[in-house]
Amino acid sequence: MEVTVIRAGMLTTVQDLGRRGWRAAGVPLSGAMDPFALRIANLLVGNPEDAAVLECTLVGPELVFSTDTVVAIGGAAFAAAPSWQPFPVAAGVPLKLGPTLTGSRGYIAIAGGLRIPPVLGSRSTYLRAGLGGFAGRALRDGDVVPAYGQPRRFAEHWRIDPRILPAYSRSPTVRIVSGAQADEFGGRLAKVEYRILAQSDRMGVRLGGPRLVRIGGADELVSSAVAPGTIQVPPDGQPIVLMADAQTIGGYPQAANVVSVDLPLVAQTRPGDRMRFEEIPLTEAQQLLLDRERVIGMLREGLKQKLT
């Protein structure tokens, strides 16, 4: 089976849950900016949670499938297709998504998944180094992406419980745990509102707001590991939330880290949106992670009766 890209949209790439285990070699995680949405979209078409899907950004693609198939879209919502629900698409009939209604990044999962050779254990695209995914690059008009066409039937008239979804918003409150140089910023990160800047990309979401000044510790820091969620503060005092394609080490002061379960909230903001931070204890962040896994586990079980 093949997926023909009629219009690629703004930035559409092949992604999965990322390249794990290669940080020591300088290889970033990559993978979905919103891993929750990718996992759920895959589950909704009966795929393994880490199957390769298309991640699109702000403007979705127009796609044509060579055989009848089943598709599910998670994350950003589009006028032309249902969200968080499998739906059939007939061979040759274009699926034209257009601009997102809400959110920033949509995950288009196709029953069977995309047929992309893994590089270092992942099918995700690392754009900056041209690694993995579809020829190491974003999709272009006219590309033909191979897929494993898996026939799938699903029961009608059901929806996933919207309460399991992250609290996506245009002005989310994002939970953080304290970072290495947090004391030097005196907890001021959590006191102000930030604006999402247009320069945000898969490496980092850039925030604009009152200048965050470091008190003491004026020395240059020795670079150490960073991760998706690390909030770096460069000398201009405008924080950057590192995301999926962030480099593996960094030398800017680290004010905090976004907790894993709230990374989807950051991933789905758009330029101009607002963001606030709220600090929580580390034990609570890890409990939230366990709770989310339990919910995804329940959905996985529940879907077994609905998909064949």
């Binding site: 020591a24 670079s223 080490i249 890890q286």
Partner: protein, 232 residues
Amino acid sequence: MTLSALGDSAVVAVLGTDIDEAVLARVRALTAALETDRPAGILDVVPAYASVTVFYDPLRLEGEGGRPYERVCRLLTERARNLDAVAKKKFTSPARTVEIPVSYGGEFGPDLELLARHCGIDPAEVIKRHQGADYRVHAIGFAPGFCYLGGLPKPLHMPRRATPRPTVPAGSVGIGGAQTGVYPLSTPGGWQLIGRTPLALFQPGEAEPARLRVGDRVKFKSISSEEFGLWK
């Protein structure tokens, strides 16, 4: 050693504040201690300059024996036992020496003349001093397989470009501030480019994709552009 959380899935062990050989030996010793018999749930061990960061899966470390963060901290403390002695005894000398052939100047090193002027020496002297020095890999990052090398002679220091190049060809050898290194893949980059190596430093198909590891000793060796062309 001081331990702190890097988000809800990693712990940073800081082993010093300076970039020097003694700290590097401690970093290598702790990395080796964590890599041998790596416990389940430990996903990545990342050495960089003066720290070692352990990435873990909190879901796999939940349960008996305390909260995941405490368990990883305890693991680090156990594995760091006798760290100074082990570092001094086994990790002071470099693990390996890797020679990197470089064709300096010309189309491969578009900033060589500029750097020579900035440093007040002629290009031939830049090449002589760059390949004459002894370098150590202190960290890998920025891009897959990109090594930050310590040991660049002071007269060759030069700030990076005000505006980074959108694409630096793979193999380019550059200078950025007090550091030198090789761009293993074609990426954007802001370092001053003085040459290029035909040696592949990052090969995703290999069992160990990055040719260099933290702690390795690096020597550069000048080759002609003809030799560059013949390199296999």
